[in-house]
Subunit: 362 residues, 2 copies
């Protein structure tokens, strides 16, 4: 199907709308900021690609020092491996014959680790890996707070021991996820985070007590890395959001700058009190809240599928074609709708970056 | 980028998850149901492709008697024209040099109508069409209730007359949109709908009074077509949702059956009180509300990006890999995330239907 792409060098203000733009300088700075933290604390950075869904950005992160990446699904991992990334933790359970077959195929091409929270699943992974002479690294997923996937800390040793007894899969450590806990205003550690990390540490100690070696303990998100990353038993952080910084989190972690926008333009204006721009629910997600207009003097009233209805403040004047940039509250799900980033530097289009893992759900 | 597609004939229960399936029989029946209404009332059916985004479904609708289709954006219209559809109303304003250039190019290849609510825009359309020796049909967009795009009824004659005076663009009639007004339980016409249709009729009469000929008055959505379609001045209805029927509207219009599902499977289960399936915000939209699990004995607690967390009722038993189908509340934005429909008949995969206008925002 036809896709008409702009010429590199086009001014950002001439891009057709709605389009997803990324400020390349800010995103690159965000990558360096997190990596500096990792380098200083001697903790490995393994960014989550479920935010950017692009081997372009994965490579940028690895060039700055990341040890590899996290992916959420086997299809995301496939898009990374075939895009040149060689070290991937699928920070999620991989369940079902077909997905396990794909995991094994991938493990023959790259270093693949996967989260496990179930004995049957571990056995299936082992059987499939053995049949194909593949080797898969295993992290036991620990339920630290979300009550989603993951075993309780007291169950971790049994599952870890079970894994060590199976061929072609290799117990490597533990994974927790506590990345969505909002930081406290005064910079101190939130109580909820302490509890979550204590649960992960309980699992860590229990597994060590069985005499097993733990190479990796992977945890943290953009909101929690500063605390989680200083716990000595954690040695990898898997932040995702920090690269472009969501609108919903930007005040919590001001060391990262929001680098993502959906640019829209005014397609209808009525008496200059109400203007309609051409970005709606089909080009920007609202699951974490309504996007914020960057331009002053407009207030977003509602989003419908293809339209943003805005009221005009302070008698400001807008014409057909005026640009209104919207800051998404949730980058991950907004990026998931688009096929490309338009990479902007100094006001012009420097690169068109394929969102190669877009739509990779399975 | 790699996309692994299943073989036709695969059982629906073996499809990898999450995936978007459509019950072909139900969707085909929905198409026939609306067309029967149109045939009986002698009103033209011009379905909106912003729901299905696919020339496959557009052709099915035209085969059943639709006169053409509506599209929301120039890019959607492009995907239809290059997919073989020859008569398209872009039921929206097309603004800006680049989009108008594309509109003109398309108008040289198919019969294209477009909504207009602004004199400057009409002049630009005319200039561009004239320069390329293209002909564009114009419907004046009337603001019937949404306070989005569209002129007030009293303003319609002036804009219509302005259009008739310009070369290469042709005033053809009026367009209103009142399709989101919920029907009343007793089947009678909601007061809000009467008001909206009265506004459209005011515009209709005012334009007729100027001596202009009106070929087309296009309006209605899935919720309102039964009332709107019986107004004698309306001669085209542009329903979209009816083809697959959203969860959010299904009780309002029981003549159409919900035909769309996202199939997920259980990837983690804890003591059989909490199960996690592999569909989340990245494969199903929530802008019209949380999806409904079709399977009994589960209650959807929360959706995160890649996970649905559900509680189990009545001591039901679920295993890893058990299937949970989710009915989306909003088809349009859920379809907008996926690249294919998996078309199911008699429990097996009959066709893989590309969502050819997915991601066509501009």
């Amino acid at each position: 199907m036809i896709t008409i792409l702009p010429t590199l060098g086009t001014k950002a203000s001439d891009l057709d709308t709605p389009c997803l733009v990324v400020d390349l300088e800010l995103a690159e700075k965000n990558i360096r900021t997190l990596q500096s933290f990792g380098n200083k604390k001697d903790i490995k950075v393994r960014p989550h690609v479920k935010t950017h869904k692009s081997n372009y950005w994965a490579k940028k992160q690895i060039q700055q020092g990341a040890v590899g990446v996290c992916a959420a699904k086997i299809s995301e991992a496939e898009s990374m491996v075939y895009g040149g990334i060689e070290n991937i933790l699928i920070a999620n359970e991989v369940v079902g014959t077909n997905k396990i077959r794909r995991l094994v195929s991938l493990a023959k091409q790259a270093k693949i680790s996967v989260a496990v929270d179930n004995h049957i699943n571990a056995k299936e992974l082992s059987n499939a890996a053995k049949a194909s002479e593949a080797e898969i690294q295993i992290l036991v997923d620990v339920n630290t707070r979300l009550n989603r996937c993951g075993v309780e800390p007291s169950e971790a040793p049994d599952l870890a021991l079970f894994v060590t007894q199976l061929p072609n899969i290799h117990f490597k450590g533990l994974m927790g996820y506590e990345g969505h806990i909002p930081p406290k205003n005064d910079g101190s550690e939130p109580e909820e985070l302490t509890k979550a990390l204590d649960k992960l540490e309980m699992a860590y100690k229990a597994v060590l007590n069985c005499g097993l070696k733990i190479d990796i303990v992977s945890a943290a998100g953009t909101s929690t890395y500063k605390h989680t990353g200083t716990r000595t038993f954690v040695n990898e952080i898997q932040c995702g959001t920090y690269i472009f910084m969501d609108g919903a989190y930007m005040e919590e972690s001001p060391e990262f700058k929001p680098a993502l926008r959906v640019i829209s333009q005014v397609m209808s204006c009525r008496n200059n009190t109400r203007i309609i721009s051409d970005a709606g629910l089909k080009s920007i997600s609202v699951d974490s809240g309504m996007p914020l207009p960057i331009e002053k003097n407009v207030h977003l009233e509602k989003l419908s599928e293809e339209h943003a209805t805005m009221s005009v403040k302070n008698n400001a004047m807008f014409e057909l074609g005026s640009r209104i940039s919207l800051l998404p509250m949730h980058g991950d799900t907004t990026i998931n709708i688009h096929d490309y980033y338009f990479g902007i530097r100094n006001g012009t289009l420097e690169s068109i970056i394929p969102i190669s893992a877009r739509g990779k759900f399975t």
